[in-house]
């Protein structure tokens, strides 16, 4: 009814290969972008920005990053938290070291530094596979967090061991520091999210992405047909860490403002981002967004219902939250192991035929 391909004639490869080949999809995508850029900034307030929009956008970047590594290239990583920490501390050092340069470039620089670290920790992936690799990435997680805790140079010898973001502006508007307007921070993150999603989408459908997927599906076979596993795996690590580093930089500079490394970038963060991509769907950009939205919204919702609605104690609500998150993850995996993205695909298939069954 609403969702038809009839009457759409694609006459060139470019038409056929575009990201949204169906006109309805394309227009919906433009509409979402327009709302995100033109409507949300005007209605957003402090609570919505800090509780929902900023974490959602930042986690979406991290999830896209991890999805490239795990979902597209098949290398399971539990080091996301550590790489986010690299992004955050790189951003901090750049912000304090070069205060005259626009923060925009600091964030991107942080991404490149994280990419370098990611490649370094990605080197063992050439020898180690599967779960052994997942555990090996834990080495990155714990080592990096320890490093940022113990080496005072990283936190500029501050007494508390914390790093806190100084005020930086874009076009004269502060985007970090206490004076930030919620809509400015939101727009700043949104620009990165759109850019990252666009880059990721186009990388994954080009030759680089196809190489990643060949490695994921079977690395020996991929090697035989001419994919170089060294470059394929290391580019996946580099691109993934680049995005995760950007997410870490934004998480620190824009969202939290002040960070203590073990608390903000601990192993829990690695698992959280992994949850997002599995619930959202491995190997899907849309899935990264869906998973991030799910994992950000659900605790807020549960908290509002249990503490706000029923008036239970916070610690009790926290336990129930654990219970429900765990239960939901298991239920999701049992019902649909390929995540929200697969549900979305199935729903679209159904909608194309609706109201007729065939």
């Amino acid at each position: 009814m609403f969702y038809r391909e009839a009457g759409e004639f694609r006459t060139s490869y470019t038409d056929d290969g575009q990201t949204f080949p169906i006109a309805f999809d394309r227009w919906r995508y433009y509409a979402v972008l327009a709302i995100a850029f033109l409507v949300v900034p005007f209605v957003i307030n402090d609570y919505w920005a800090n509780a929902i929009f900023l974490p959602f956008l930042i986690y979406a970047i991290a999830a896209i990053g991890l999805n490239i590594l795990t979902g597209y290239c098949g290398q399971v990583s539990l080091g996301t938290g550590g790489f986010m920490a690299v992004g955050a501390y790189a951003c901090y050092k750049l912000m304090t070291g070069f205060p005259d340069i626009n923060i925009f470039f600091h964030v991107i620089g942080a991404g490149f530094i994280t990419a370098g670290v990611g490649v370094l920790f990605g080197l063992p992936s050439l020898r180690i596979k599967g779960f052994y690799l997942a555990v090996a990435t834990l080495a990155a997680q714990f080592f990096l967090v320890w490093l940022f805790n113990r080496v005072p140079w990283f936190y500029n010898y501050s007494a508390s061991g914390q790093i806190s973001a100084p005020e930086r502006t874009v076009f004269g508007l502060p985007v970090t520091g206490p004076a930030t307007e919620p809509w400015a921070a939101y727009l700043f993150c949104l620009v990165f999210v759109v850019a990252v999603a666009w880059i990721a989408r186009n990388l994954t459908r080009g030759s680089v992405g196809r190489k990643w997927m060949a490695i994921r599906d079977m690395d020996i076979a991929a090697e035989i047909i001419g994919v170089n596993p060294l470059t394929a795996k290391l580019t996946a690590f580099a691109v993934s860490s680049f995005f995760v580093g950007i997410a870490g930089a934004l998480f620190f500079a824009v969202y939290l403002g002040a960070v203590e490394v073990g608390e903000a970038f601990g192993i829990q963060k690695s698992f959280l981002v992994l949850f997002m991509i599995i619930i959202g769907g491995l190997g899907s950009i849309f899935g990264s967004f869906a998973g991030a939205a799910f994992m950000v919204l659900m605790p807020v919702l549960l908290k509002n219902v249990l503490v706000g609605g029923l008036g239970w104690a916070t610690d009790l609500a926290a336990h129930i939250e654990f219970l429900i998150v765990g239960g939901l993850i298991v239920t999701f995996l049992v019902a649909e192991p390929h995540g929200l993205a697969q549900l979305w695909r199935v729903a679209k298939e159904k909608l194309r035929l609706w109201p007729f069954p065939y």
């Binding site: 555990v135 090996a136 834990l138 939901l328 192991p337």
Partner: protein
Amino acid sequence: MPDQLLFAAEVTLNGLMAGVLYALVALGFVLIYKASGIFNYAQGVMALFAALTLVGIMDGQVPFSHLINAIFGTEVHHFGWHVPAVAAILLTIVVMVVLAWAVNRFIFRHLVNQEPIILFMATIGLAYFLEGFGDLMWGSDIKKLDVGLPQGINLWIDETTYNAFGYGFFIDNLDIVATVIAALLVIGLVIFSQYTKQGRALRAVADDHQAALSVGISLNFIWVLVWSVAGFVALVAGIMWGAKSGVQFSLSLIALKALPVLMLGGFTSIPGAIVGGLIIGVGEKLFEFLIGPLVGGATENWFAYVLALLFLVFRPQGLFGEKIIERV
């Protein structure tokens, strides 16, 4: 002997003892991984859950008392009795068997033939669930676990070493007991898997699922069995760690410590888990003792992982793991 060497020897001994405890947790991982190919992240939380249940039963706590109080506005906390340790341990074993059955019935039966990563995720979900469930059932405050194990410095070793070297070694009685129990547990497991019908069936399943099915072994039963055994191992680990440092959330984090042990020893090898545990235990204690002060301390957090990582680069299947043969 010079002092430094004596200290190092003491540190090594303590490392061996700690390694035994790591190995206990790693053992649970290996059992499940061998029998079902599931990498059970929830093993640590199972240890926590078992310890919580044990303490709860011993103290006669009312399960879900916080929840009941919150809903009905009542003030119940304790039944007011104390269960003896042995009976409580038996009851906890029953709980762990029920848990094993439920896990298989409600989760893994539906996930047959899924990719390993999906199964792994399911166990992480299970870990979250159990953590919330355990806290909800028994409360999240730090509890003292006392099942009558000896604790404190072993005076005999202290005196003997003092007389021999002029410096008394500090070895905790509990660690010695843990070592003995771990040894007994491993011997028990070996006897079980070599000489009983169920044990042989379990090894058959570990070897080849389909061949085991075709000779009439019930996979469902074996999986419940192996999860129960893993639950029992988790209980033992929970008692040891709980007696050492109290029953609290951080108990579930020992699962993370068991991972490098597994990598070092190989995912599929029971002796590997023991040897790996000992290497990691000694290695991290010695490293912290010798190198730690030079780089700012607290190296125990990451040393095990980095050691395992470097080791794997040279031997990707671990010390005793099965050789990985890849075919196209």
